[in-house]
Every structure is written in structure tokens, then in C-alpha cells.
Amino acid sequence: MITAHREVWTGRVLLIGLMAITVMPFVSLFVTALHPSGTYPPGLDWPSHPHWGNFTGAYRAAHMGELLKSSTLIVVGVVPLSLILGTMAGFALGHLRMAGRRLVFLTFVLGLTLPFEGIITPLYSQVRDFGLLNTRWAIIVPLIGLFMPFSVFWMRAHFVTMPKELSEGARIDGANVWQLFWRIHVPLARPAISSLAILLFLWTWNQFLLAIVLVDDPAKRTMAGALGAFQGQWGTDIPLLCAGSLLILAPTLLIFLIFQRRFVTALLQGSLKG
């Protein structure tokens, strides 16, 4: 078992190395953020007098309060509606017998690989024609549509595994399709729905392209979109930029660390299904 022992140790060393590489950018951001504002510190150098004030400075400069509110409003606009519509459609396509469901499902699948850049130009003119440019609706409405293929795909994959006998029993007891859906299937689908909610939250919060194209005012964008504007404005002040970047990625990081187990499962399943 000498070989096994050696393999365990190479495994450990490799894993620690990989973790170090993963964490390194964050550490570098953090250390740099503590240097006096306006200086060009070397990559990884603990300052003699850490300037914790940079974080409050960046908080004010980035208008973090407004940004948090804006991103939250956008998430509230996108996620619940996407969940409801996606779950309903996934239920019908995975569990009900309906004419043409295969064609409908294939049409949704078509949208799974779509790069957002492919339709950003017509989205811009449509949003403009509806007079929604520079409002949060300009991000919310397109995102619901763009996330729909994945939501439907994800929920259908869940409903396909539900035994038909379950629904037949309820039907015999006199439930109509709507009651069957809300009272029996939605409660049972809760794990699938909550994983989907996590993924949609992340993708909305981190959405960049739609934010910079459709909304000029950084205060009405998502967090990620605001980071782009923040870089443009403070790009020369490296410590402040680093402090601001850390603040902007802190909320998702925090939520991830709190719900990490659900997140990891959701992300692993998400990429396998998607």
C-alpha cells in the first residue's frame, strides 16, 4: 500500500495548490485594497499601515447602497416570475400529455446555447421602441425570456421523473389539473425549484452585457454592470478599484458561503443538465 500512500500525498499537495491558485486573485485584491489610495503597490505586499478606510471610500464612490437596492429589485423582478412560468411549462412538457409537446420542447432547447450577444442588437431596438431604455425593466423583461429555455428544461427534467400513478391517484380523488399542479407537484418539486432559484439569482446578479447595453445609469444596473462603470471611473486609482471590486463581489460571496451546500449541488447539477 506504499503506492496508495504516495498517491494520497500527491493528491493533497495538488488540491492545496489548486485552492491556492483559486484564492490568489482575491488575496491580491484584498492586500492591494489596503494600500494608500492613488499609489501603485507591488502585487502582493502587506502595507505597513493598512488603509481600511479605502473600503468606506469605495462604498461611497460606488454608491453601494443604491447598487444593492437596484440589483435586488432586478432579481425580484426576474426570479419569481421565471420560476412560476418555468415550473408550469416544465410540468406540462414533462408530465401532461399534450399534442405537439415534443416540438415545443425542441424549440425551447434551441434557445439553450444562444449567446446573448447574438440578439443584443434587436433587443436594444425593441426595448427602445417600448420606451423602456434606461429603466430596470430593460434588464428584467429580456432576462426572463432568455432564462426561460433553461428554466423549462430544468423543471421538465424533474417532472419527467415523477411517477404518473401519483397524479392518477389525485385525479381519481377529484382534483383538477390546476389543483394537481399546486397541491401535489409543486411541493414535491421544491428541491428542483430552489436549485433553479439559486442559479437564476446568480445569473441575474452577475449579468453584465444587458446591463451595460440597455441601461446607461450605473445606479439602475446589476452589480456586475455597475462594476464596469466603476472601473471606467476609478480605473487609475488601483487601491480604490480593488476595494470597490471586493465590495461589489461581496454580496454573492456572502450568500454563497451561507448556502454553500445548496449552491454547490445546484451548480453541479446545473451544468450537467444544461
Partner: protein, 324 residues
Amino acid sequence: MAQPTLGPARPDVAETRPGGVAKARGRTPRSGRPGLRTSPWAGWLFVLPAFAIYAVVVLWSIALTFQYSLYRWDGIGPSTWVGLRNYGKVFTDPDLYGSVLNAFQLIVFFSVIPVGLGLVIASTIRRIAASRLALVARTVLFLPQVIPLVAAGLAWSWLLASTGLVNQLLARVGLGGATRAWLGDVSTALPAVGVIGAWVLLGLCTLLFLAGMGKIDPTLYEAARIDGAGPFREFVSITMPSLRQEIGVCLTVTVIAALASFDIVYISTQGGPGDSTMVPGLEIYYLAFSQREVGVASALAVVLMALVILCVLPLQWLTREESS
């Protein structure tokens, strides 16, 4: 993209995969005929809201992109019909097809490296997959998936800057001559952008492979050991074939990430220096919103959408189960 092949392996599930659906009629009801008998329009009522918003936002926009691509248009004023001339421009203008070639080079960094390295790392740490260290690693390796890509781009721009950590380390090990502003040098900018993408995707691939390896029957490895197989032989004969599906998924996800890259490039190089890191997504953005050439931008968009589908489709046979 992929089929939902990872559901629990119930015998009646296979029947409901697309392809099995239409032909199931006429079997005895208990043998797993998919779908519940309801009035025929009930299902449509459930699908309709989702389909409506998908059709308006996505399908309609795809159609409009096709339409725009046949016109010369500045986005505001009148447009003129130019037929396929915009596509001609995409395939002959070196700036435009150059961006597509750059995207293909990025596949090496976004897909080949994370998948290759991820396989090697996962099979090395397979034995300690249940240890506490590995549990911590699961969380840490996911960090790049959770933060916005722009934040990854920003952090790495700083690491790769002329006074950044990468150069600091190089100088420390006596390679001071190799230091440079990695993202500002025409010859290194594209690989440097690629490294950022590899950093984002490596953890995801490694963890997906580890999860897949957890499902391999351990007696297979024991039998191989008894037969005198070394780690390499084990990897080729047991690990690789069992991970077909995971490899297919990783390749699909990462190839799309490479071809449709935007956030990282936008924040770290803006396509420069020169056009050395220009990618189709960014080129579309510039063409449509700063040069006001909506027609050419849309032609490039159509080419990009087609390329993604063409590259991803052949990968799907990997994700299908071998039998059945």
C-alpha cells in the same frame, strides 16, 4: 444542450426522453406511457405564458437579427437592402473573421486546458475525495463560478499588470527578464485572457469530474490494481470511459464560454492591444453601438450563433448514454 440523462435511473424514465415520446402510444398503460391523460388544451395553458415570453424576447429577436443582417442600417435612420453583402464582409474583412479566429484560439484555454487538467487533477485526488480537505476544496473551487466574470477579469488584470503578482513571482524565481504587462503585449494578450478563462472554468470541470468518479464502482479499480495496472492505465481504461458524459458536458459548457466570451475581454483588454484579443461578442457590441453598423454586427451575430450550434452539436453524442 444536453439531455437530462442524470435523473435517477428509473426504468420508466428512459421512455420519456425525446424520441421515446411519440412512439409510446398503443402500449399497455402500465408499461410507462408518458403523460397524464387530461383535456388536450390543459397542457397548452400551462406552457403558453412561458412560451409567449420566450417567443417575444428570444425567437422574435433571432428573426430580427436575420433581417437586420440583410440591410445597411445605422440603427436610427432609413435602411437599405444589401442582400448577403454583410456576410461577405464578415468573411473577407480580417478584423471581423480575425475575431472569430481569436475565439477559436480561446477554446484551447477555456476548454482544452480546464478539461485536460481537470481530468488529471480529479483522478489524482480521487482517493481523498471524501476527506475534510476535499470538502473545503469543494467550496473554494466554486468561488470563480459565483463571482461575476467582470470581477474575475478585474482581479486578473491586476495580477497580470506590469507590477502585479505574476511578474513579482517571476522576478523572485530569477525570470525577471520575462516580466511584462501581459495583457498589454500583442503577443501575450490573447493567452493572458485565456488564462483568466481557464482559472474560471478549471474548478468547475474538476468538481464535475470528481462527482462523476464518485459514481464509478470502486471494485473496478481494485480489479485493475490486482491485474497490475498503474495509475495511467487505470485512467485510460476505467476513468476516461466512465466519464464520457461529464467530459461532454464540460466541453459543451466551456466551448460556449469561449466562443461567446464578452465580460472578461471587455474588462481586461477591451479587445486590444490592436485587435489581438478581439472576440465576436465584443466586435458585435462595438459595431452595433459605437460604429453604428447594425447590418454587419447582425451578420456577425448570425455567424456566431451558427458557430456555437455547429461546435456544440457534435459534442452531444458524448453526453448520451452509450447503451440504449
